[in-house]
């Protein structure tokens, strides 16, 4: 099997701080690859380095379907078939829902898209459940709708690799459930997904493999079932066991 994405010894520094420290991993075709880790572990920085927005890695290489992308312009990375979402709900405030998606429909992929940009935009809006709100201005959507809109605008660029940065953050249970269904459906369409998520039940449910980052370094990479029993993971999340707190499980 050819790897869709290979991240090879990638590091990103902010001043003296190693936000991402020599991280290596590979993601296979149609895989859902989960990334978790405590706050400040470098998860989003890793996404930024992969997508080139707003920076490339300081050292290390990234290959997408065999092509080196660690020095490629970010809009070209999008054209190659990598789309990302952002941790903060991000929309074009003054544009309508439809226009938000049209940006990606027109500019997000090489000319050989299927159908007109308008058709593609309507299709992805349908997929995320915003089809009946095309003419609303994006700034007054709810958090969940903004997140879905961001997802739609990623999908419309026809990615073969989707980077999702905490799609469930700040959502309620029902919305998380819908997000889960949506991720599964997108993956079912054959799109490879890398998922950063703090809501671990979601991550454990949907991911095929999971990497735990801690302080910029790759701590563990394992199957979901193994992850939850790994002492190192529990320590990274809940802190080091000490004589103050009783042990669990």
């Amino acid at each position: 099997m050819v790897d869709v994405l290979v991240v090879d010894k990638v590091s990103k520094l902010f001043g003296k701080m190693r936000a991402v420290d020599n991280v290596t991993f590979a993601v296979g075709e149609k895989e859902v690859y989960g990334i978790a880790g405590p706050n400040g572990a470098g998860k989003s920085t890793l996404f930024n380095a992969i997508s080139g927005i707003p920076y490339h890695p300081d050292t290390g290489k990234i290959f997408f379907r065999g092509k080196a992308i660690h020095e490629v312009h970010p809009h070209v990375i999008c054209h190659l078939g990598i789309a990302r979402t952002f941790q903060q709900e991000t929309v074009f405030d003054t544009l309508t829902v439809m226009q938000n998606v049209m940006v990606g429909a027109v500019f997000g992929h090489p000319a050989n898209g299927s159908g007109t940009p308008e058709d593609m935009a309507v299709a992805v809006l349908k997929k995320v459940g915003l089809a009946d709100r095309q003419d609303e201005k994006a700034w007054h959507l709810s958090l969940f709708d903004k997140k879905r809109l961001m997802l739609a605008s990623a999908l419309v660029t026809q990615p073969s690799l989707l980077l999702l940065d905490e799609p469930a953050a700040g959502l309620n249970r029902m919305e998380i459930q819908q997000t889960l269904d949506l991720i599964r459906s997108i993956n079912g369409d054959g799109i490879t997904i890398i998922l950063i998520e703090h809501v671990l039940p979601l991550l454990l449910t949907v991911s095929h493999r999971i990497m735990i980052l801690s302080q910029g370094e790759k701590l563990v990479e394992a199957l979901p079932a193994e992850i939850v029993r790994d002492e190192r993971v529990i320590e990274a999340y809940l802190g080091r066991r000490s004589n103050h707190g009783p042990s669990a499980a």
Binding site: S142, R173, L238, G239, R240, R241, A248, A249
Partner: protein, 254 residues
């Protein structure tokens, strides 16, 4: 029971159109330490920012020593004695350690006691005393966090709120900070501590509150923390033994 020192009632807060806190109520007794934890983006920092006046509540009320303080500016709240040490130890990079500490005592009430404050901070963090005249941006991550706490202490707060003091720090420094916080706590300053590191919280606080979806969904005292720990793990990792982890976390725990 005595009336609470700090009382948060049915707080609703958000940014722009997006609501984050959906009815949070908290009581903090004098000399009490409470810990807040929970997933990212669910309102812990927002709550602290609202108490310290950086954000205005949409609805609800905050009282300190019986008086309504919601809607006051951060400056007025610092004079009252509500001190927040923000996340990510963002200080004043091009000022010396000493100058940073003096800014911490900027409020009139604290300025009078600045000598006393400096003594206390240097006693607690001898490393800062050694680096008095060093520029803040040349400090290590751990030292910066100590300085951030020192700046907070210089305010002589009636309530001290620490937002993720161990974020991204190595275990050894975490231990040092834990000891320092314990010493601060020993002086009887009531505290609100936000932390991802649960062990850290369990060691330092009397009560734990789980913040989720902008609400307090779980509140337990330290005494029952044994059960708590297991359940919290379950919350983080979902129902381990079920085929399908239950997404309805809050409902399950309470």
């Amino acid at each position: 029971m005595a009336p609470p020192l700090l009382e948060v009632k049915d707080l609703h807060v958000g940014y722009g159109e997006v609501q984050v806190l959906r009815g949070v109520s908290i009581d903090l007794q004098d000399k009490e330490r409470i810990g807040l934890f929970g997933p990212n983006g669910h309102g812990k920092t927002t709550l602290l920012k609202t108490i310290s006046g950086l954000l205005r509540p949409w609805k609800g009320e905050i009282r300190f020593a019986g008086k309504v303080i919601s809607g006051k500016s951060p400056r007025e709240l610092v004079e009252v004695g509500i001190i927040q040490v923000p996340q990510g130890n963002t200080l004043f990079p091009r000022m010396s350690v000493m100058e940073n500490l003096l800014i911490g005592a900027y409020a009139d009430r604290a300025w009078k006691k600045r000598r006393q404050g400096l003594e206390r901070v240097f006693e607690l963090f001898p490393r800062l005393a050694e680096r008095k005249s060093q520029l803040c941006r040349t400090l290590s991550g751990g030292e910066r966090q100590m300085l951030a706490m020192g700046v907070g202490l210089m305010g002589h707060g009636q309530v001290l709120m620490l937002d993720e003091p161990t974020l991204g720090l190595a275990p050894k420094i975490k231990d040092e900070l834990r000891e320092a916080i314990q010493q601060i706590a020993a002086t009887g300053v009531p505290m609100i501590l936000v932390e991802q590191d649960l062990e850290f919280l369990l060691a330092l606080t009397d009560r734990l509150l789980l913040v989720q979806e902008g609400r307090i969904v779980l509140e337990k005292t330290h005494a029952s923390s044994e059960i708590e720990h297991a359940r919290i793990l379950e919350m983080y990792f979902g129902g381990l033994d079920q085929a399908e982890p239950d997404l309805a976390l809050g409902g399950k725990i309470t």
